[in-house]
């Protein structure tokens, strides 16, 4: 190894107050420009910046963390006191945990993975991310996906509007053919109405004491405004009623709801009262087929979700550890890649050339299935022949034996000067034109050749 390691320097909601975070955070063009600058710094091979409202983290593949640290201190001197830094395995662990949303303010929240993917996308676009960061990111994405599907960490509703959606879903299932009524202009109401409309409601009705506000609100949530005086009819029409007015007392009382239920022929009706003080008389919940929730209920549910997620976090951490271990094992065996890659490429080139020639002479006389079995056979021969040497070479490298790779190279006629130092070999991004051949080489073989032929150029 040539001393290049993944270094992470950053600050997050755990280490720094928002006043500091907002001074070092950035988006869009500024982020690209900063990455370009960082990449040009001395000793920085690769770089990536993850910037969200809760964290700013700089990942560099470099000999030291200094460029990453400077990156922060140059922008805001006071950031220095809030920085954390990790290197190598610890940096990878931190990154995996971040991507899996184990380090988020709301455990298991779904946005962070998208943000991490975006950070990687930007770094790739400006060619700041190379093979080492690519591998790290891909593993992190896979880890996050596993955590998501194998634990219930993303389960449940993490915010009030999500809770509202979950409740409505448990009552009505999907909302096709149903309507949502938004009463009042509170911010939570509009937010929840939008989230609920995503369940496929036929229409969103909006009403407010002031018709102008109703119109404006209707435009914002994509609904249609109705006069305040028609509230009684609206209660018959709507299935989900979101209430968030600033009225000091009940806007909807039991008598009204009893009336509405009769006219609705007992179709279920759900009230979500987001107002404090409450706008829906609590006794409404006692009526059959009427469901009513207030802010307390919703917040209780949010808390329950957070508690449940905290329990699941333990299982998620175990997955992160397992993936981390696999990631490092892979990294170690990759050190043997240069010789192996040449060996394999040579074998596969011979195989695919021979297959191509055979297929040419057989052209027209065999069907697609036979063609594929011939290709598969060639692949199998290559794999079986190379399996033993590959395993022993990996073992040798893992135990620090450098003579065997050299001997193998000499034995198979691989020119040693092309091997280069055993550092990180590229796996992604094959050079253009590298793998283009005229023979119908099976895609799998072609991919592998392209991938492995990049080995040793790190």
């Amino acid at each position: 190894m040539s001393g290049l390691e993944v270094h992470l320097v950053g600050l997050s909601h755990r280490s720094a107050p928002i006043a500091v975070r907002e001074r070092v955070a950035f988006t869009g063009e500024a982020l690209r420009a900063a990455l370009e600058r960082l990449k040009l710094e001395d000793g920085v091979a690769e770089a990536m910046v993850l910037s969200t409202c809760n964290r700013v983290e700089v990942y560099v593949v470099a000999e030291s963390a200094e460029p990453a640290r400077r990156f922060f201190v140059d922008r805001a001197a006071e950031a220095a006191a809030h920085l954390y830094a990790h290197v190598g395995r610890e940096a990878a662990r931190h990154f995996f945990r971040v991507a899996a949303s184990l380090d988020s303010m709301v455990l298991g929240e779904p946005q962070i993975l998208g943000q991490v993917k975006e950070a990687y996308g930007v770094a790739s676009a400006v060619q700041a991310a190379g093979p080492a960061l690519s591998r790290l990111c891909n593993r992190a994405f896979a880890t996050a996906k596993r955590v998501r599907s194998e634990t219930r960490i993303a389960h449940g509703a993490g915010s009030v509007s999500q809770v509202a959606v979950e409740l409505v879903e448990k009552i009505f299932g999907q909302l096709q053919g149903r309507s949502i009524l938004l009463v009042g202009a509170g911010k939570m109401g509009a937010l929840s109405a939008k989230a609920l409309a995503a369940l496929g409601a036929d229409q969103v009705l909006v009403t407010n004491r002031s018709p102008e506000r109703a119109e404006e609100l209707a435009r914002r949530v994509g609904g249609s405004a109705r006069p305040w005086s028609s509230l009684a009819e609206l209660l018959v029409q709507a299935d989900v009623v979101l209430v968030s007015t600033s009225a000091p007392g009940y806007v909807i009382d039991v008598a009204q709801v009893v009336q509405a239920m009769k006219a609705r022929r007992q179709r279920s009706l759900c009230f979500i009262d987001l107002a404090v003080p409450r706008n829906v008389e609590p006794r409404c919940a006692d009526l059959p087929n009427v469901f009513a929730y207030d802010m307390d209920d919703l917040e209780k549910m949010v808390r329950a979700t957070h508690d449940a997620r905290a329990d699941e976090a333990l299982r998620a951490e175990a997955i992160v550890e397992a993936e981390l271990m696999a990631f490092h094992r892979e990294r170690e065996t990759r050190a043997a890649l240069p010789v192996l890659a040449r060996l394999r490429r040579q074998a596969e080139e011979i195989a695919s050339a021979e297959v191509g020639r055979t297929l040419e002479t057989l052209a027209g006389r065999i069907d697609e299935r036979s063609r594929r079995s011939i290709e598969a056979m060639a692949r199998a021969i290559v794999n079986k022949l190379l399996h033993g040497p590959t395993a022993r070479l990996k073992e040798a490298v893992a135990s620090g034996d450098r003579s065997l790779p050299g001997a193998a190279a000499a034995l198979f006629g691989i020119e040693t000067e092309e091997l280069g130092p055993a550092v990180e070999g590229g796996e992604r991004a094959p050079a253009p034109g590298e793998a283009i051949r005229s023979e119908p080489v099976p895609a799998v073989v072609e991919d592998r050749v392209a991938a492995l032929s990049q080995g040793g150029k790190g």
């Binding site: 599907s149 194998e150 634990t151 219930r152 389960h155 449940g156 409740l167 879903e169 448990k170 009552i171 009505f172 299932g173 609705r264 022929r265 007992q266 179709r267 279920s268 919940a285 059959p288 087929n289 469901f291 929730y293 209920d297 209780k300 549910m301 329950a304």
Partner: protein, 276 residues
């Protein structure tokens, strides 16, 4: 012989129940539901073979005993569950239906098959054998499944409405979906059960000489029939929810309870006995 085959089928149902319950406990195991359905399918086929064998062994007399009736009921319930699974894969239905099937089957595994005293002469009435008994148990099987779904509804409603978001809240499907499934099963069961009631009256006319004799069994059947008929009608007026689910269960419990009760106290009803 048939009892042995039946035990194999029961074992398959039991494993299926295990899979369904595992999926219920940890909804991440989606494949467990598929495995459960496949096992119920296999159990259903073997169960059918057991019933066929029993018919050969006892010449159809088996289904005049409570034991044979439960064997048939469980088989039809398994068929109904397969139907529901194919219809619309609503999670957790299997976790409620399979234990119910096992509960119905369990006494049948240990009772003595066949019937002491030979085949009753009324078996000769083709209507009884071919229409009345199958439709009665098929209708009952649908009521049984409907009751399972109704129980799911009640559990879910308690959590949703009571704002007590326990383990059922996340695992059970939406109230509207359960409500719909319950009503469908009740409607289907009612149509088939009606056939059983009509043919039952016809059989009574032939065997007892009158359509209606105020026999306790007849009274219970009529009550249950009226109850489910009312539920089907009420559905059209928008009636649904908690009370609908409760009444669905009441009807089923009444019917099964009467079978058990009359079975335990012979002499109360002439139904299912040698009528001559």
């Amino acid at each position: 012989m048939s009892v042995l085959v039946l035990r194999v089928a029961t074992a398959l149902y039991a494993i299926a129940a295990g899979f369904y319950l595992a999926q219920f406990a940890r909804p991440v195991f989606r494949r467990a539901q598929v495995a459960g359905a496949a096992l119920v399918g296999a159990g259903f086929a073997i169960h059918a073979a057991a019933i066929g064998l029993a018919c050969r062994e006892f010449h159809g007399a088996e289904f005049f005993t409570m034991r044979g009736g439960f064997v048939l009921l469980a088989w039809l319930m398994a068929g109904g569950l397969l139907l529901v699974e194919g219809w619309r894969r609503i999670p957790a239905v299997g976790a409620f239906a399979t234990p119910l099937i096992l509960l119905v089957l369990l006494p049948a595994l240990f009772g003595a098959p066949g019937r002491i005293g030979g085949v009753p002469t009324v078996v000769q009435i083709g209507l009884l054998r071919l229409v009345h008994i199958p439709s009665a148990f098929l209708g009952l099987a649908f009521f049984a499944l409907a009751s399972g779904v109704a129980l799911m509804y009640l559990l879910q409603e308690r959590e949703v409405k009571g704002k007590h978001f326990g383990p059922f809240f996340t695992r059970l499907p939406a109230l509207a979906a359960l409500d719909r499934l319950n009503q469908r099963l009740v409607r289907l069961g009612f149509v088939i059960f009606t056939l059983a009631v009509v043919t039952g009256a016809a059989v009574a006319k032939v065997a007892w000489g009158s359509f209606w004799l105020w026999d306790p069994h007849q009274v219970v059947v009529l009550l249950v029939w009226i109850l489910y008929g009312t539920l089907v009608q009420l559905h059209h007026t928008g009636w649904h929810g908690r009370r609908y689910a409760l009444l669905t269960m009441v009807g089923f419990v009444l019917m099964i309870g009467s079978f058990v009760f009359f079975g335990a106290l012979p002499g109360l009803t002439r139904h299912g006995r040698d009528f001559q």
